[in-house]
Assembly symmetry: none
Homo-oligomer: 416 residues x 2
């Protein structure tokens, strides 16, 4: 028994979009212990899609399709699969009603083309789509073949997978031997430096430990093969503990933790609050903090002081210091942090001012130069200088700036 992932969409063949659905499904199959040896991408073309199905059923039993379930004429996945297995399409009135309701909720009227999305192969089960209009199917057109279809929109697909496909696969006996992983997340240490510290762990048989790097952070994935999540946890726990001890403060969390969520937990448990003053990140730090639902308990707001006039008017930065030291300086970062803290009366004030590029750099103040200001309960002003490098792009410098600011506050909260 094995699965094959088949992603349908001419946009994939043109390179218009990145195939993140394959990665998600691959991870999910591993988690359930379902072997999977092939992934295929094919365009919105019925003849080629049929050839792909022919090949897939010769080497896999579970076929997972994404894409091509939309309302437009080039969306052909469902009808092509039905045609391949010789099943007629049946219109489901309850799907039409569901689609009409979703349109109504958004104050729109359903168009006739959407009726197409209510056509399901005879004998298939509807895989409901709670957020979008395109339902999927679970279908056994032959006793040995199980077919899943999902829309190509990742958020819709993820939810449908978790809510319907996983319970179905578990009911079929999958998930008895699982691969279960924990990702430890690190900030403030590079991949090779961390790898050297924990090198001896990379040869473990079960759980295995492997490093990954991306977007400025490093992860260590601890993966255990076991008969249950609890048994896997038991294998993972001692290794996790040892790795955390070796890494110390550089390990900020695991799995779905983010720097913002970890800072939020620390602030909440201390009964403290934070406000932000942002220049080069333009709101990105506030956005990260407010990605967490319930962040209003500890995040009170901030000032986006993009222009110098905003720094003076909204934060009380001294014009003479702007003239003397420039907007990108430690002293201005400190005044920004103090200004927002005192105006919003929070426990902490956190600020960022820097040069995100690609323009605006000079010899003494190159692109990538960033100052982070921090002021806490005792009103002691601190600022930190970073040089994120002139070769990194604007997005990355802004991302590193906001993450580093959060990490600074995290370390401050943990070590005071």
């Amino acid at each position: 028994m094995s699965a094959e992932i088949i992603c349908v969409g001419t946009e994939l063949l043109l390179g218009d979009i990145l195939n993140s659905n394959s990665q998600f499904l691959a991870q999910q199959l591993a988690k359930l212990g379902i072997p999977h040896y092939y992934q295929t991408v094919v365009g919105d073309n019925p003849e080629r899609l049929k050839q792909v199905i022919e090949i897939a059923i010769s080497r896999a039993n579970i076929l997972i399709f994404t894409g091509g379930l939309g309302p437009t004429p080039d969306d052909l996945t469902c009808e092509t699969i039905a045609d391949f297995f010789g099943a007629p399409l049946v219109e489901y009135p309850e799907i039409i009603e569901d689609i009409a309701q979703k349109f109504a909720q958004r104050g729109r009227v359903m168009t006739p083309t959407n009726r197409k999305q209510a056509l399901i192969p005879q004998g298939a089960e509807v895989l409901p789509n709670p957020t979008g209009t395109a339902p999927g199917i679970i279908w056994q057109p032959r006793p040995e073949i199980t077919i899943f279809t999902f829309p190509g929109v990742p958020s819709e697909m993820h939810r449908m997978w978790q809510e319907t496909a996983v319970p179905f696969l578990q009911s079929q006996g999958w998930g008895k031997e699982i691969i279960y992983s924990r990702s430890l997340r690190f900030w403030g240490i590079g991949e090779s430096a961390l790898a050297e510290k924990v090198a001896s762990y990379f040869n473990l048989p079960n759980p295995t430990v492997a490093p990954y790097a991306g977007k400025g952070e490093v992860r260590l994935r601890i993966s255990a093969k076991a008969t249950s999540e609890a048994a896997a946890e038991e294998l993972i726990a001692p290794i996790e503990k040892q790795l955390k001890e070796i890494a110390g403060l550089d390990c900020y969390g695991a799995d779905n933790d983010t720097l913002a969520s970890v800072v939020g937990q620390l602030l909440r448990s201390a009964g403290e609050t934070v406000s932000v003053a942002e220049s080069c990140t333009g709101g990105g730090l506030g956005q990260m903090l407010t990605e967490i639902s319930g962040s209003s308990d500890y995040f009170w707001g901030g000032v986006i002081s993009y222009d110098n006039s905003a720094k003076v008017r909204m934060l009380g930065v001294k014009p003479e210091d702007l003239d003397k030291f420039g907007a990108v300086s430690g002293i201005v970062a400190e005044q920004m942090a103090l200004g927002v803290k005192s105006r919003l009366e929070t426990t902490w004030g956190l600020s960022i001012t820097g040069i995100a590029g690609p323009g605006g750099g000079t010899e003494t103040k190159p692109v990538g130069l960033v100052y982070i200001g921090l002021v806490g309960p005792n009103d002691e002003l601190k600022s930190f200088e970073y040089r994120f490098g002139t070769m990194r792009d604007r997005w990355f410098i802004r991302h590193l700036s906001a993450c580093t600011a959060l990490d600074l506050l995290r370390r401050q909260l943990l070590t005071r």
Copy 2:
């Protein structure tokens, strides 16, 4: 003649990495006008890789492999291909020398396992790797089949593609007919509604027109086959013009335009400025505006008024209106917009207040309820109510809120 992309690597089957190589190669093939109908992913397994080659040569002439060229025992791509076509492997002393030099440059000594990377199928041409140790090959094992191999490391692959594969393919006559695309981008209209308006264009032979949707926006891709970019532009231009006329204000731009970049261009050409006041988006609107380098010309900053106290202190929102109408109301949105505009003395003030969820919704004010406030040069206050639906996640509601705010300002700038 067509190409197939074959990515080799168990890490892809485990979902450890995102398959960005497929996207890069797909874009590159489109640029050269090389048709390409299938992409396959297979693990580091010789038997399965041979089956994949068998299928690929039955439906394509150009096989492009990435991955599996490393020095470790699980890197089997090159020898498996050689074995499939019955060619012996030949050791190239100049490759060994090149690898040894690269190790020396990094102050390391070449390990014996790296010798493996110098084995090339007899008759194949070496595709040099300027930055890494793994060279690729260009090989015609049969007159009608051309094989390329590349390492899986994206940066190495990109450079080898550009420097060696592209000139080779051009010397074979490719790149004379190219596929060139323009993506028109829409906000404020759904995929099916737009598709109905422009349905007659979906049957055009050249250029073709196809819709796709994601993250709240719809695109129409116009793709032309032609002998040059200029010739493709000529085919695209009249269709682009007609589609824009049909769509009117709903079409906000093309290709790399974003709502923020379009708003920025309009503000810059009018010599006007904007400031923002954000509640539920927490800085996301400011972040979008400042993604554009040079946005300091027209974006002066803003206030993240997440807590009600910030709305009162930093924006002058009336406490009695907060009590009477609630923070999520049209009147508060208007006061936020006016507050930030007057404090920062900008031409426009733009505000967002809403319930991003998943918590915080009530029967009368459900998750997804968002008010956007706008005030312009004549100080006329406007607010707009949106119901983005209770089923969408926090990220998406915040994204829709920020994009819709930018779109409102865009429409205002275009129609005043």
